[in-house]
C-alpha cells in the first residue's frame, strides 16, 4: 500500500466530507477485473433508456416532419376553415389582402352507380382553379389535374373497385351525373381534411354547385388556403403577422386558423400523447429492469465481502466503503445509459428505413436533446433507486468475515440517510413521470398501479417460497428436488415471479381488454343503438323520408333532430383560446361541434341540475350543457357561452345540465339550445334509423337504395361500418401497445437471465452432488424442467389473476363495457411464461448437465 493510501484510509473525522479522488482511485482498482456480473445491470439500464430515447426521437422526427411538410399539408402558409358558410365577399377580400388564396369544400356524400344499385359513402372535396397552391396533385397515368377537372371528377381507386366503374364511366352524386376523368395517386393536402369515412372524390366547385348538395345548413367545410407572397413565405415573423392580421380581420367569422408551423395541432397533440404514454411503458421496462439492477448490486457486494472486510480492517469507514462502490455503480450506470442512448438514436433511423413509407408524415430524423436528457435522467434515477439500498447494506459487512465467513452476512437496514436517499430518489422519479405528462392523473394512476403490481409480485414471490417450504416432501425425487430448489435461499421463485409477473400482467390486461373491446365492437351493438345515421335531410322532407323508409321496411323507427355545426368561442366570458381545460374535455373546444335545438328534453338525456325551458319558450337565449363536460370546463348554471354558427356569434345562458348515455350511440349533443336561439339559422335534419331485428340484408340494402334514390343529397352512414372502421384503428393501437408492453417482458427476461446466471453455480453444485449420489442426467433434467414449469405456471397464474383483475376494473368500472374472459389471452400468457423460463433456464441446465464434477467437488 502506498503512503498516501495509508494516510487517506484512516477513519475520517466525524462529519468530514469523503474525498472523492480516493473513492475514484479505489473504485478503479476494484473494477480492474472488468464488468463481470454487471452485464445484466448494463442491459437493464440500456434497454429502458433506449426505449425512452427512441420513442422521444421518433415522436420528435414525426413532429419535425409535420412542421417541414407544413406548407404542403395545409396547402399554403395559413389555412382557415369554417362549417356551413362560405366566405363572404368581405372575408374573401381580407384573405386576398394577405396572399394568394385557394378555396376548397369538403363533405361526406353518397356516391351511387347510375342505376342506383351500388352506393358508397365517400369524401368529397371540391376545388377552385388555384388548387393546389402548394405541392402537386398526382394522378395515375400522368394526367394533368386541370384537364381532368375540366372533364369531371378524379377519384381514389377504391371507389372504382367498390362501384365497379372505370375511368370514363359516370356515377351519380346528389342530383347530378359525374364523369370519372382520372384516378388519384397522391393528394398533397390529404392529411388535413380527410375524415377517413370513404374514398376521395375531387372535382371543381363549379361542378359541386350542379349537384344540389350545396344547400343552406349542409354539413360542408369551407377551407381557404393562403400562400403569402414575396419573402413572407420563408419568414416566421411575416407568417405570425399575417396570421394575426387574419385573426383580427376575421375574428367574428368563427373560422379555425392553422398555419404551416403547426399544420395539424390535433396530429401534434396525438403524437405528444403517444410519446408520453409510450415513455411510461419504457419507464415500466426500466423499473422492472431495476430488479435486475438490485440483484446485480447485491451479488457484486456479496462477492466483495472479503474485500470490504479487509478495507474495514485497514481503517476504512462506512462512508468510504459506500463511496467506493457508489462510484462503481455510477460508472456502470453511465455505460448503460450511453449504450441505451446509442440504441435510441439508431432505432428511429432503422424504423424509418423499414416502415417510413407507411407513415402519413415523412419523419425527419434529428437529435432530440430533450428526449436524450429525459431518458438519461430516468436511467440514472432508476439505477440509483435500486442500487442505494443494497449499497447501503455493504456498510453492514463486518471485518469478522475474514475470520468466520458466515458471520458477515449483511442483514438489517441500511443507515437512515441511505434509506432517505432511496425514498427521495423514488419520489423525484414519480414526480418527474407525473408532471412531464399532459395528463398527470393518468401518469399518477399508472405509477400507483405499477408500484402496487411490483409490490404484489414481490410479496407473491416470497409467498411461493414460503408455501413451497411447507409442502410435504413428495415421493418422486425429481419433484422433491424441484420443490427444494424453488424453496432454497437462492431459489428462483422470487426473481421469476417478480421479473416476469409485471410484464405478463400487462400483456394479459391488454389482451383481455382487447378481446373485450373486439367482442363489444364486433358483437351485438348496444340495445336500441341505431342502424343508420342519416345526414343533411332538408327540413321539410322528414315526413317524406319517413314514408319512404316505412314503405320499404315495416317496423323501422326514426329519431330526428335539427343539426348545425358550431364552434365554441367563449365560455363564461373567457375566450376559448385562453382556457386550459383537462385533456378529457379538450375535444369540445377544438373545431366544430354538432349543435341542436329542442322544445323538450331529448330521449336518452336527463336534466340533473337547473330547469328545462318550456314549450314555445321565447325569453333570452338558453342552452343545456352536458353535465360532466360542464364540470371539467368549470361551467355552471347561469354562465354564458358563445358559439359561432354559420359565421355568426350566438350567445346563450346555461339554464340546465344534462347527463346522457354516450354508449347508446343515439343522437347526443353536448349543447342543446332553446329553439328561439337558433330560429333564424338554416339547418338540416339529422335522423337515426332503427331497423327491426333480424332484418334480411337484402331488404336493408334495398331500403337504403330507395332512400338514396328518393333523397340523392342525403348521406346515410351505417353504424356497423363506422364501428368496424373504429375497430380496425383500435386494433392497430392495441397492437402497438402490445409491442411496447413486450419491452417490459424483455426487461423481465433480462432480470431472469441475470438471476439464473447468479444461481448457476449453486445449481451446478447441486447437480454434481446428485450425480455423485447416482442421479442420471435425465433425472436432473426432469427435476429442472419440473422446477421451470412450476415457476412459469405459478407466475402466469398470478399474472392472469392480476392482469385479469386490472382489465376487469378498467373495463367494467372505468370504460363501462362488459368483461370477456378470453382463453387465448390466458393461454398466451401461460405460453410466453413457460417459453421464457424454460428457454432461459434450459440454457443454464445444458451447462449444468455438461459440467465436470471434479472442479466443484474439490474447490470448496
Amino acid at each position: 500500500m502506498t503512503t498516501s493510501d495509508t494516510e487517506t484510509i484512516q477513519p475520517s473525522s466525524a462529519g468530514a466530507p469523503m474525498r472523492m479522488p480516493l473513492a475514484i482511485r479505489l473504485a478503479r482498482r476494484q473494477m480492474r477485473s472488468g464488468f463481470e456480473g454487471f452485464v445484466v445491470f448494463i442491459a437493464c439500464v440500456a434497454l429502458g433508456v433506449m426505449v425512452i430515447a427512441a420513442i422521444g426521437a421518433l415522436a420528435n422526427a414525426l413532429v419535425i416532419g409535420l412542421e417541414r411538410q407544413g406548407r404542403q399539408i395545409i396547402g399554403g402558409d395559413v389555412s382557415i376553415s369554417r362549417m356551413h358558410a362560405r366566405a363572404t365577399p368581405d372575408e374573401r377580400a381580407a384573405l386576398e389582402g394577405v396572399g394568394l388564396i385557394s378555396e376548397t369544400a369538403t363533405m361526406r356524400v353518397m356516391a351511387r352507380t347510375a342505376d342506383s344499385k351500388e352506393q358508397i359513402l365517400a369524401e368529397l372535396k371540391s376545388v377552385d382553379d388555384a388548387y393546389p397552391l402548394v405541392g402537386e396533385m398526382k394522378l395515375k397515368g400522368d394526367t394533368k389535374l386541370d384537364k381532368a377537372l375540366a372533364n369531371g371528377a378524379v377519384v381514389e381507386p377504391i371507389l372504382l373497385e367498390r362501384l365497379g366503374l372505370n375511368v370514363g364511366d359516370e356515377f351519380q352524386l346528389g342530383s347530378a351525373p359525374i364523369r370519372i376523368s382520372g384516378v388519384i395517386a397522391k393528394e398533397p393536402d390529404g392529411l388535413l381534411d380527410r375524415l377517413t369515412y370513404g374514398p376521395r372524390i375531387l372535382f371543381s366547385t363549379v361542378l359541386l354547385e350542379q349537384t344540389g348538395l350545396l344547400k343552406p345548413g349542409a354539413l360542408i367545410r369551407w377551407r381557404y388556403a393562403v400562400a403569402l407572397q414575396g419573402d413572407g413565405k420563408d419568414d416566421a415573423e411575416d407568417l405570425g403577422s399575417a396570421r394575426a392580421e387574419l385573426k383580427k380581420e376575421l375574428s367574428a367569422g368563427g373560422f379555425t386558423i392553422v398555419d404551416r408551423s403547426d399544420p395539424s395541432p390535433q396530429v401534434r397533440r396525438t403524437l405528444e400523447r403517444l410519446r408520453q404514454f409510450l415513455t411510461l411503458i419504457g419507464l415500466t421496462a426500466l423499473i422492472v429492469g431495476g430488479v435486475g439492477i438490485a440483484n446485480a448490486v447485491t451479488n457484486y457486494i456479496d462477492r466483495r465481502r472479503r474485500t470490504i472486510a479487509t478495507m474495514k480492517s485497514l481503517g476504512a469507514n462506512n462512508r468510504t466503503i459506500f463511496s467506493v462502490f457508489m462510484v462503481q455503480i455510477l460508472a456502470i450506470t453511465l455505460i448503460g445509459i450511453a449504450v441505451g442512448l446509442a440504441g435510441g438514436l439508431i432505432i428511429p433511423s432503422i424504423l424509418k428505413a423499414l416502415y417510413g413509407d407507411l407513415l402519413p408524415i415523412p419523419p425527419v430524423i434529428s437529435i432530440s436533446v430533450g428526449s436524450l436528457i429525459a431518458a438519461s435522467i430516468y436511467g440514472l434515477l432508476v439505477a440509483l433507486l435500486f442500487s442505494l439500498w443494497p449499497l447501503g447494506r455493504a456498510e453492514l459487512i463486518t471485518p469478522a468475515v475474514l475470520f468466520r465467513d458466515q458471520v458477515g452476512q449483511a442483514s438489517g437496514l441500511p443507515r437512515w440517510p441511505i434509506m432517505a436517499a432511496t425514498a427521495v430518489t423514488g419520489l423525484v422519479l414519480l414526480l418527474l413521470a407525473i408532471f412531464s405528462s399532459d395528463t398527470p392523473w393518468v401518469a399518477a394512476y399508472f405509477a400507483a398501479g405499477l408500484s402496487l403490481i411490483l409490490l404484489l409480485f414481490y410479496g407473491l414471490g416470497h409467498l411461493v417460497t414460503w408455501v413451497t417450504r411447507r409442502i410435504p416432501r413428495p415421493a418422486t425425487p425429481e419433484l422433491a428436488i424441484a420443490l427444494g430448489s424453488i424453496a432454497a435461499p437462492g431459489g428462483l421463485a422470487r426473481t421469476v415471479v417478480l421479473s416476469l409477473g409485471a410484464g405478463l400482467s400487462m400483456l394479459v390486461a391488454v389482451a383481455l381488454a382487447d378481446a373485450s373491446f373486439v367482442e363489444e365492437l364486433s358483437g351485438k351493438l348496444p340495445e336500441h343503438a341505431p342502424d343508420y345515421f342519416v345526414l343533411d335531410i332538408p327540413r321539410g322532407e322528414m315526413d317524406r323520408l319517413k314514408s319512404v323508409i316505412a314503405g320499404e321496411v315495416s317496423g323501422a323507427t326514426l329519431q330526428q333532430a335539427p343539426m348545425l355545426r358550431g364552434r365554441l368561442i367563449e365560455l363564461a366570458g373567457r375566450k376559448v383560446e385562453e382556457l386550459k381545460p383537462p385533456a378529457e374535455a379538450e375535444w369540445v373546444l377544438r373545431g366544430d361541434r354538432g349543435i341542436t335545438y329542442a322544445d323538450e328534453v331529448p330521449q336518452g338525456s336527463r336534466v340533473v341540475k337547473g330547469n328545462w325551458w318550456g314549450e314555445n319558450y321565447s325569453g333570452p337565449p338558453l342552452v343545456s350543457f352536458e353535465a360532466d363536460l360542464a364540470r371539467m370546463l368549470g361551467l355552471g348554471i347561469g354562465d354564458q357561452i358563445t358559439v359561432n354558427v354559420l359565421g355568426r356569434n350566438i350567445s346563450a345562458t346555461i339554464s340546465n345540465l344534462r347527463e346522457l348515455d354516450w354508449d347508446s350511440l343515439s343522437i347526443n349533443f353536448v349543447m342543446i339550445f332553446s329553439p328561439n336561439t337558433l330560429a333564424g339559422a338554416p339547418s338540416n335534419m339529422l335522423a337515426t334509423i332503427n331497423l327491426p331485428e333480424n332484418l334480411e340484408i337484402a331488404k336493408e340494402a334495398a331500403a337504403m337504395r330507395a332512400l338514396s334514390k328518393a333523397f340523392p343529397t342525403v348521406t346515410a352512414i351505417r353504424v356497423r361500418d363506422a364501428v368496424d372502421a373504429f375497430n380496425k384503428v383500435f386494433s392497430k393501437i392495441m397492437t402497438a401497445v402490445r409491442v411496447a408492453g413486450s419491452v417490459t417482458l424483455l426487461a423481465g427476461a433480462l432480470v431472469l437471465a441475470g438471476a439464473l446466471a447468479t444461481a448457476q453455480r449453486r445449481r451446478i453444485l447441486d447437480a454434481v452432488i446428485f450425480k455423485a449420489l447416482g442421479a442420471t442426467r435425465r433425472r436432473i433434467l426432469a427435476a429442472h424442467v419440473l422446477e421451470y414449469l412450476l415457476l412459469a405456471a405459478v407466475t402466469a397464474g398470478f399474472a392472469i389473476l392480476l392482469g385479469g383483475f386490472a382489465a376487469w376494473i378498467a373495463l367494467t368500472q372505468v370504460i363501462d363495457i362488459p368483461f370477456v374472459l378470453s382463453w387465448p389471452a390466458v393461454f398466451q400468457a401461460l405460453g410466453i411464461s413457460i417459453a421464457l423460463v424454460v428457454i432461459l433456464g434450459g440454457l443454464g441446465t445444458l451447462q449444468v448437465l455438461r459440467s465436470r464434477s471434479v472442479p466443484y467437488l474439490r474447490s470448496e
Partner: protein, 230 residues
C-alpha cells in the same frame, strides 16, 4: 483369488491448463481386494484425490484401464457411471457436499430415492440414528455443526449399503476431536458393512488404522504396504 473390487492398469490422467498439459496421474497400477481398508497417503498435489475421483467415475482417465466391481469405467457413459455409483459406491467428501436445501433426513434418503427404494426414509432414519443424529433429522445443513454435517455425509454414503466407500480427507475440515469421532464412526461402520474403504489422507496416524497404505508422489505410487490383516 477373488476378482479385486478395484483394478487399475497403467492409469493416466492429464489435464489441460493455461500453462499446457499437466500430468496428474502417470501410469498407476493398483488392485484392491473386497473388504480391504486402504489409505492413500501423500502430500498436496501428489494426485491422491484425483485417483479417488477417477475410481468414483467422477473424473475420466486419459489412459489405461479402470475396473470397479467388474465394470470397465472407460466404457460407461456419464449416466452409466452415475448408476454404478448409486448402486455400489458411497463417497464422503472433505467439504461434506450436502444438498443445502434438504434436511439431514432427506439428504440421506436421496440416493435410495434415486434407486426407487420404497423404504428410503425408514433406512435413512435408521442410519442417522447409527451416526448419533436421531435428534437432528429435520435440520438443514446450515443448522448443523461441521462434525454433524460430516456424520450426515457418512450416513448418506452408506445409505445404499455400497460395496465400496471412498472418503476424501473426511476430517480435513474438522477440528481434532471431532475428526477423531468421525474416523471412529467411519471405521466402525466399515467393519460392520464389510465394504471396501479407500481413504485419502495426509495424516500418517490415520493411515495406520487401515490395512494397507498406498503412498503417492507426483502422480506415481511410491509405495504400497500391507499394514495389517485386521
Amino acid at each position: 483369488m477373488n476378482e479385486p473390487i478395484i483394478k487399475l492398469d497403467g492409469l493416466r490422467l492429464s489435464l489441460q491448463s493455461r500453462a499446457g498439459t499437466v500430468e496428474i496421474l502417470r501410469g498407476i497400477d493398483l488392485q484392491i481386494a473386497h473388504g480391504q481398508s486402504v489409505a492413500v497417503l501423500g502430500p498436496s498435489g501428489s494426485g491422491k484425490t484425483s485417483l479417488l475421483m477417477v475410481i468414483a467415475g467422477l473424473e475420466r482417465s486419459t489412459g489405461g484401464a479402470v475396473t470397479v466391481e467388474g465394470a470397465d469405467l472407460t466404457a460407461l457413459d456419464e449416466d452409466g457411471l452415475a448408476l454404478l455409483r448409486g448402486e455400489k459406491i458411497g463417497i464422503v467428501f472433505q467439504s461434506f457436499h450436502l444438498v443445502p436445501s434438504m434436511t439431514a433426513l432427506e439428504n440421506v434418503a436421496l440416493p435410495l430415492e434415486f434407486q426407487g427404494r420404497g423404504e428410503a426414509f425408514e433406512a435413512a432414519r435408521e442410519l442417522l440414528g447409527e451416526v448419533g443424529l436421531e435428534h437432528r433429522l429435520h435440520h438443514f445443513p446450515a443448522e448443523l455443526s461441521g462434525g454433524e454435517q460430516q456424520r450426515v455425509a457418512i450416513a448418506r454414503a452408506l445409505s445404499t449399503r455400497p460395496r465400496l466407500i471412498l472418503a476424501d480427507e473426511p476430517t480435513g475440515n474438522l477440528d481434532g476431536e471431532t475428526g477423531r469421532q468421525i474416523i471412529e464412526l467411519l471405521f466402525s461402520l466399515h467393519r460392520r458393512s464389510k465394504a471396501t474403504l479407500v481413504l485419502v489422507t495426509h495424516d500418517e496416524a490415520l493411515s495406520r488404522r487401515c490395512q494397507r497404505t498406498v503412498r503417492m508422489g507426483d502422480g506415481h505410487i511410491l509405495s504400497d504396504d500391507l499394514v495389517s490383516a485386521a
